[in-house]
């Protein structure tokens, strides 16, 4: 039922000899096709809000700014918390460092760890067995007074606050008991502290040197830049004393 004349006209125009008019029409239709394709791809690439009404956009913007305010408030809170935590961490680290230092010095003073440092090595020879516990105790007191931080006798007995000195079982065989440990002459006392002050503490008139030589012994003092005190004091548990908190 197709209209033959209309179809023939279309067919004739399709196969017609190219003319200037047809070219112009072609150019215009090309422009139309181009514009339509561009517009279609433009609509495709537009974001989700292109078709949204103005009121909706305003509402969206408002809710976004409210959300942003809330997030900013939360951020400020979190930063505050972070700062407080950092501060407390720093304080805790400082306290930890301080207690670690205190622990180190207490362990050194109580003879629980080996010590190294400058000091003096005092050698007391006692050929006649006449130098006794009292002389050594006096010497230790003088050394402590001069700032001795670690003391050991004959590389076997560490001298700490609880250390006691006793004369040996036989007074003639030149031996002493330090903390139940028997040490024999020559007594080598290694002391860590300021070498000059420690040497001075043995040499003053009436001090260790004078006392030992009066008893028939000899004392030699050698200062050293690095002494090692490696013996340890026995660990003691307290039974009665408790720290007052």
């Amino acid at each position: 039922m197709l209209d033959q004349t209309a179809l023939q006209r279309v067919a004739r125009s399709v196969v017609a000899r190219p003319s200037r008019g047809q070219a112009v029409v072609g150019v215009l239709l090309a422009v139309l096709g181009f514009a339509a394709a561009v517009q279609v791809s433009e609509v495709d690439s537009d974001d989700a809000y292109s078709g949204t009404r103005r009121e909706d956009l305003v509402q969206l913007l408002q809710s976004l700014s409210v959300a942003q305010d809330r997030a900013a408030g939360r951020l400020a809170d979190l930063e505050e918390t972070r700062d407080a935590l950092q501060l407390s961490t720093q304080q805790r680290q400082a306290a930890l460092l301080e207690s670690q230092e205190r622990l180190d010095s207490l362990r050194l003073l109580s003879g629980q760890v080996a010590a190294v440092g400058p000091g003096v090595r005092i050698t007391i020879d006692d050929p006649d067995g006449t130098v006794g516990a009292a002389t050594l105790l006096n010497a230790v007191e003088e050394l402590r007074d001069s700032g001795a931080e670690a003391i050991e006798v004959n590389e076997a007995a560490r001298v700490v606050a609880q250390t006691w000195f006793g004369d040996g079982p036989d007074p003639a065989d030149a031996s002493l008991v330090v903390d139940s440990r028997t040490v024999s002459a020559p007594y080598v006392v290694e002391v860590i502290g300021d070498p000059a002050t420690l040497a001075e503490a043995t040499a003053f008139p009436g001090g260790l040197t004078d006392e030992a030589e009066a008893l028939g012994g000899t004392v030699s003092v050698v200062t050293s830049d690095e002494l090692r005190v490696e013996s340890l004091a026995p660990a003691r548990a307290t039974s009665f004393a408790e720290p007052v908190t």
Binding site: V10, G26, G33
Partner: protein, 110 residues
């Protein structure tokens, strides 16, 4: 023949080049496209009626596009741009429908 080829070439160019529409032209392009479609369907109808004339087509095409763009521009200046765009699209749509109906009647007698 050349017309169909031109349409194809234009579509392909637009698809493959994917140029971005300048911001100043963005409100006018869709209306211009609809106006040009209207002119094209009018031309097809005239072709079937045997009264097609390329001079008429060129003038109607260009004037359709320009008038549509002018109306949208005027609407934008008056603050009723979107409403006027809708109006133009409706009018052009009606014209396209009536043209298509005429073409259909001509071709199918229905």
């Amino acid at each position: 023949m050349i017309a169909v080829l031109g349409l194809l070439v234009g579509v392909l160019l637009g698809l493959f080049l994917e140029p971005s529409v300048p911001l100043a032209l963005q409100p006018y392009l869709p209306i211009a496209v609809v106006a040009a479609l209207d002119a094209t369907f009018g031309a097809l109808r005239a072709l079937l009626d045997g009264i097609f004339d390329d001079r008429v087509f060129v003038i109607s095409f260009v004037s359709n596009v320009l008038v549509a763009a002018l109306i949208v521009y005027l609407g934008d200046q008056l603050g009723v741009g979107s409403q006027l765009s809708t109006g133009v699209v409706v009018v052009l749509g009606i014209r396209i429908f009536s043209n298509v109906a005429a073409i259909r009647r001509k071709l199918l007698h229905a």
